[in-house]
């Protein structure tokens, strides 16, 4: 699913956010990405979601080289990823239903299909009864669940989450993480960046640790094992 070979990212001004990162997340695998602030977690996620391009090395998503993708193909590749943000990035001028339906609208689904899939996604995060509510009236945990519903409504192959529990209390955080585990169990690949180490320990999933832009710990299978 995701393959990084000696990926480095150097920003203008010389700051090196990633240094020779190697990793591989197979189809249907789930992993946590940890590290201090500024260790490169966000940069790694940005490379996968085509927001940044690697300076050196090879970053592949489903064997597509993310460095050489033309800008016209970027939207179509992003449709295979569901992204969950720390601040959930909901659109406050429209209802919960319309927020969750957005990826389907973008991809041109039929009206009835949009309604069906949107309700299914809301049901999965336990917010079906709130479909007509405006996001501003929801609690922080509920808003994050709406963000998750929006990320999964179009059934992406890969879920990326950047500090999804950063603003939530431990109980809500556990609920949110459990939703990710549920998606992993139905075959979706999941990569969650988080520094909530105690929660990560609890969930018993592979962990990747970044430190100063270098991968210092990797529970996933090394690339060589796939190449043989």
């Amino acid at each position: 699913m995701i393959e990084f070979k000696n990926v480095s990212k150097r920003f203008e001004g010389g700051f090196e956010a990633l240094r020779n990162v190697n990793m591989q997340l197979g189809e249907g695998e789930m992993a946590f990405l940890t590290g201090h602030s500024g260790a490169g977690k966000s940069t790694l996620l940005k490379i996968i979601s085509l927001i940044e391009k690697p300076t050196r090395g090879q970053a592949l998503l489903n064997r597509i080289n993310l460095k050489t993708v033309s800008k016209y193909r970027v939207p179509y590749i992003r449709r295979n990823i569901g992204i969950i943000f720390q601040d959930h990035q909901l659109l406050f001028d429209r209802s919960v239903f319309d927020n969750v339906a957005l990826p389907l609208t973008i991809q041109g689904y039929r009206h009835q299909e949009i309604a069906k899939r949107t309700r299914a996604a809301l049901d999965k995060v336990g917010l079906l009864q709130k479909e007509k509510a405006m996001p501003i009236t929801l609690s922080g945990g509920e808003q994050q669940r709406v963000g998750i519903a929006r990320a999964v409504v179009h059934k992406p192959m890969l879920l990326l989450a950047d500090e999804p529990t950063g603003n939530l209390d431990p109980v809500l955080s556990r609920e949110i993480m459990q939703i990710f585990v549920d998606f992993h169990q139905v075959g979706v690949s999941v990569l969650v960046a988080s520094h909530d180490l105690s929660l990560i320990d609890e969930l018993q999933k592979p962990v990747l640790t970044l430190n100063g832009g270098q991968m210092t710990h990797n529970d996933l299978q090394p690339i060589a094992a796939y190449e043989s």
């Binding site: 064997r63 179509y76 990826p103």
Partner: protein
Amino acid sequence: MVMATSKKRRGIPGKANKLVAYFLHHLQSLVFSLGKIYKAPTTTIMTVAVIGITLSLPSGFYLFLKNIEAMSGDLSSSTQITLYLDLKTSEKSARKLSKALASQETVQKTEFISRDSALQAFRQSSGFGKSIDTLSSNPLPHTIIVIPKSDSDRFEIKNLLNSLQSLPEVKIAKLDTEWLERLFTILEIAKRAVGIITLLFAFAVLLIIGNTIRLDIQNRYQEIIVTKLIGATNAFIRRPFLYGGLWYGLFGGIISWLIVELGYLAISGPLGRLNMLYQAELDIVTFSFQDFIILISSSTLLGLTGSWIAVAKHLNQIEPT
């Protein structure tokens, strides 16, 4: 596992045919942008009012010119030729000439003014009565006013003028068209001025709409970034803004039409009197249906163009970071 490009997804149940989806989104954007206008009436009304007022100036001028032209067209049909006869011509032969001319095919009618009645009229209207009394003899000649057939064109009138000029009794034959030609020239200048004004104001409307859409894009910066991350194409994001500009242009055009119509209602009284003073029985000309369509469609086009420029310049710069 296969990267799902739009092509490969075509067969997925629930997903509309690509073309259908395309038109569906156009329709959605059209309605959505209208909904945004409805939700923010104050801003919209202000923008639309500015566009309406801006467009009402050139269209008002245009209508004004149209009226003047209609009036002058009517006046030009009342062309007359004035014949100043030789002073030696007797009143009797002058009257005879007038009658003879009236029976000519190209002439509608003639009017004879004897030198005495001319002097009488001059004495009354000019205010020089006393100074005229000091004259030893009447300096004015007999005059015949020849009105050509109403459907004669310029060429026929010119021919008539030449034939009248060659008559032995006629000293001077004068066609009263100089002032008309002047009027036409002034109208020509005014037309060009309206053209320049129209261009300038059209440009102003482009700037107004461009700026409004630019602010709209800035206000929805976050939304644009989120939709891009969800996989929206630039075309998808562009559409609501383009339709927004289209609505601004359309409503602005309608408002400018209303302004001009109301303005003409307000000045129709004096304009009607002016018509009567020129003895022209004319209705005031307002926008024809064709004018209305041209006004509305060009303002809509301006709206679309203005937003297109703004969108092309600003939207592509917004990328998630």
